[in-house]
């Protein structure tokens, strides 16, 4: 099992490399770019602009830039003359150190001094051009909100989707089966941002039962109140985000259940006179649940994509909305951070579902 886990993790390395390379290449073509957004001020002289460009290293060859972004550049400098100052470096131009004129301050500046970057591998996504803060700490503030929403939606999807799927298979061809089938198609086809708008219109605006958005009551700071006291804020976004999951799980569970139905052990259970309930739920459903383990990876992609839209409609202060705003304000370090984190989460989701599956079904390990 450990061997399988390790193999699976090793296989993820080229994928991770591909994700970073792909997004970095795409981002190179983005308009505006860091130099433009940092030197937007008309008082900035061409010399200053050139200095910013050199500090950011945007004139370096692509592989160098990519390497610095991925691995950082602190390891590229060393102390050559033994005076305790790392004053020699490869691929980094220390001569343009922002510290030279002493104006680099930790909170306000958007650029690191050359030779101090750690690279995204060590969780350093640089600074936001827009907020002039560490991207990683800003991400940290928003991860919890997205996790909260995503986990609730995933749970809702499972809690509703699985029983519905089982019942639809047990009562195949019944009214219940048909109605859930139609609902699943509807849930799949409905644009979630529109569903969100309509729900806000009905429950938030017209009836006034639920808040129209946000994660906390207005005027109360972050993290002040526990989740069970603000459930009303979760209801609409969770429902909107989980529609897709409910539809997919119920259909998948139904198919899986029907698959299991024709297995020999089901016939055995029936013929030895077990009551229908026991046959279906103890023998059937438990086995039918197994393929669902493979669904974690795809579920995470779906939830993250959906979260970007859901968070925007309900002003939910999470990662997705952060990413969308960053695209609009051309804050590319933030965009990259959100994309990479989303991709890594998905990748881990796929690995986890493979491992779950291997635990449940040992044959997989020897493929």
């Amino acid at each position: 099992m450990i061997k399988y886990t390790i193999r699976r993790l090793v296989q993820a390395i080229p994928t991770f490399f591909g994700i970073t390379l792909f997004s970095y290449i795409l981002m190179l073509g983005a308009p505006g770019g860091p130099v433009a957004s940092l030197t937007f001020d008309p008082r900035v002289t061409p010399q200053q602009r050139a200095r910013v460009a050199a500090q950011l290293g945007v004139n370096d060859p692509f592989p160098v830039q990519y390497l610095r972004w991925l691995m950082g550049d602190d390891w590229m400098r060393w102390d050559a003359d033994g005076d305790g100052v790392s004053d020699h470096a490869v691929l980094v131009d220390l001569g343009l150190d922002a510290n030279a004129d002493g104006d680099f301050d930790d909170e306000g500046d958007a650029i690191y001094p050359p030779g101090t970057r750690k690279g995204i591998i060590r969780g350093d996504f640089g600074r936001s051009f827009f907020y002039r803060r560490e991207v990683s700490s800003m991400i940290g503030e928003r991860v919890a909100a997205t996790l909260e929403l995503g986990a609730t939606a995933l749970l809702t999807g499972l809690v509703i989707g699985v029983p519905v799927g089982i019942l639809a298979a047990v009562f195949k061809g019944s009214f219940f089966d048909n109605i859930t089938r139609i609902l699943a198609v509807i849930f799949n086809a409905i644009p979630i941002f529109w569903l969100g708008l309509i729900l806000i219109l009905v429950f938030g605006s017209a009836l006034g039962w639920l808040p129209m958005g946000g994660r906390f009551p207005i005027g109360i700071g972050l993290g002040d109140i526990p989740i069970y006291q603000r459930l009303e804020f979760l209801i609409l976004p969770t429902f909107v985000l989980s529609t897709g999951a409910i539809a997919v799980y119920s259909r998948y569970m139904r198919a899986s259940m029907l698959d299991v139905k024709s297995q020999d052990y089901m016939r055995t259970a029936q013929s030895k006179g077990l009551p229908g309930r026991t046959v279906w739920f103890r023998h059937g459903a438990r086995n039918a649940l197994i393929p669902l383990a493979t669904f974690l990876g795809p579920a995470i992609t779906g939830l993250l994509s959906g979260a970007a839209i859901t968070e925007t409609i309900f002003s939910w202060p999470g990662l997705g909305r952060f990413g969308v705003e960053a695209v609009t304000s051309q804050d590319y370090n933030v965009v990259m951070a959100v994309v990479i984190i989303g991709a890594v989460a998905t990748m881990l989701g796929y690995i986890l579902s493979d491992i779950f599956y291997a635990i449940i079904d040992p044959r997989i390990r020897f493929d």
Binding site: A30, F193, L197, I198, I200, L304, V324, V327
Partner: protein, 312 residues
């Protein structure tokens, strides 16, 4: 006498059943009985035709999708308006926040959304099918490379991927078609690759190879036609998915930009219309919903129709 004719009828029926029929013919016959799918097809065709005759609708009702007028904002359904020169404008679905005719805007938006969905789906299908056949047929290094690209692309949540691209490109209908097409092929490739893997071991492929057919000929003359059902089903479902993706992006302000209407961007900022014109929130979403619902229904119907194990 009566029993004789019924026996004769039965024989005819029996004989007809014995005549070899192609999968496509069988599918078409099954489809003819599947009213739900037929209705969906009709709705999609109607929707397309009406959308693309938006100009005609505009001139008939004497309205415009882009002329703004501060004096007639948020008119309700079925409003009529007499201009100074006596001509009457019929705002069947009312007007929007800038006084533009809502129906006309919906139709023009439909043109954009349908165009993006259809063309992007076709583009992704062409890429997906060709890559799928080639990787399935040759295997080896090409297969490994394409699988690596697919693993990479599917690891990035689709919307996030579109976020980067939206940041890089100035979005318009044309760029969206290219972007959605170039990013949406992975599922098709996987599907087609799997099918090709099994098809290439079939006898007719082996005999084609034995008589010296070139790989290109085998792939595109012998294998491709057998993928027809997979392709048609994927196409219907892809168009639906892509219309949803376009609408989502445009809603977030990262897709089609106003003043060009699209069903997605007509809902941007719709929260502010809640009190004044709820119909502005309802209609564009309803259009997306109906279109996508019909396309998914068609996809499902085709899947059932092409299912070789299905009984008549």
């Amino acid at each position: 006498m009566a029993s004789q004719t019924s026996v004769a009828k039965l024989n005819v029926k029996q004989r007809n059943k014995d005549v070899g029929q192609s999968l496509t013919k069988l599918a078409l016959r099954r489809l003819r009985k599947d009213y739900l799918t037929l209705i969906a097809i009709v709705v999609i065709i109607l929707m397309t035709v009406i959308s693309f005759s938006a100009g005609l609708v505009e001139s008939t009702l004497n309205v415009s999708y882009r002329t703004t007028d501060a004096s007639r904002t948020f008119l309700p359904f079925g409003s009529q308006e007499t201009a100074a020169d006596g001509t009457i404008s019929y705002h069947l679905l009312g007007t929007d926040d800038l006084g533009r005719d809502h129906l006309a805007r919906l139709l023009y938006a439909g043109q954009v959304s349908l165009k993006v969905g259809f063309l992007a789906a076709i583009l992704s299908l062409v890429i997906g099918v060709s890559l799928g056949i080639v990787t399935g047929f040759y295997g080896g290094l090409v297969d490994d490379f394409v699988n690596w690209v697919i693993a990479t692309l599917t690891s990035i949540p689709q919307l996030f991927l579109l976020l980067i691209v939206a940041a890089v490109l100035q979005p318009s209908a044309e760029t969206l078609i290219l972007v959605l097409g170039f990013l949406g092929w992975t599922g098709t490739t996987r599907l087609v690759r799997g099918e090709t893997l099994s098809l290439r071991e079939r006898e007719y492929v082996i005999s084609a190879r034995a008589i010296g057919a070139s790989p290109l000929r085998i792939m595109f003359v012998h294998i491709l036609p057998n993928l027809f059902s997979v392709i048609v089903i994927t196409l219907a479902i892809d168009i639906g998915g892509l219309i949803l993706a376009e609408a989502g992006l445009s809603y977030l302000g990262l897709g089609i930009k106003p003043p060009t209407p699209s069903w997605g961007n007509m809902l941007t900022g719709a929260q502010t219309f809640f009190a004044l014109g709820p119909h502005l929130v309802v209609m564009p979403g309803l259009m997306i919903f109906i279109t996508v619902l019909c396309l998914y229904t068609i996809g499902d119907g085709l899947r059932d129709a092409f299912d070789p194990t299905a009984k008549d």
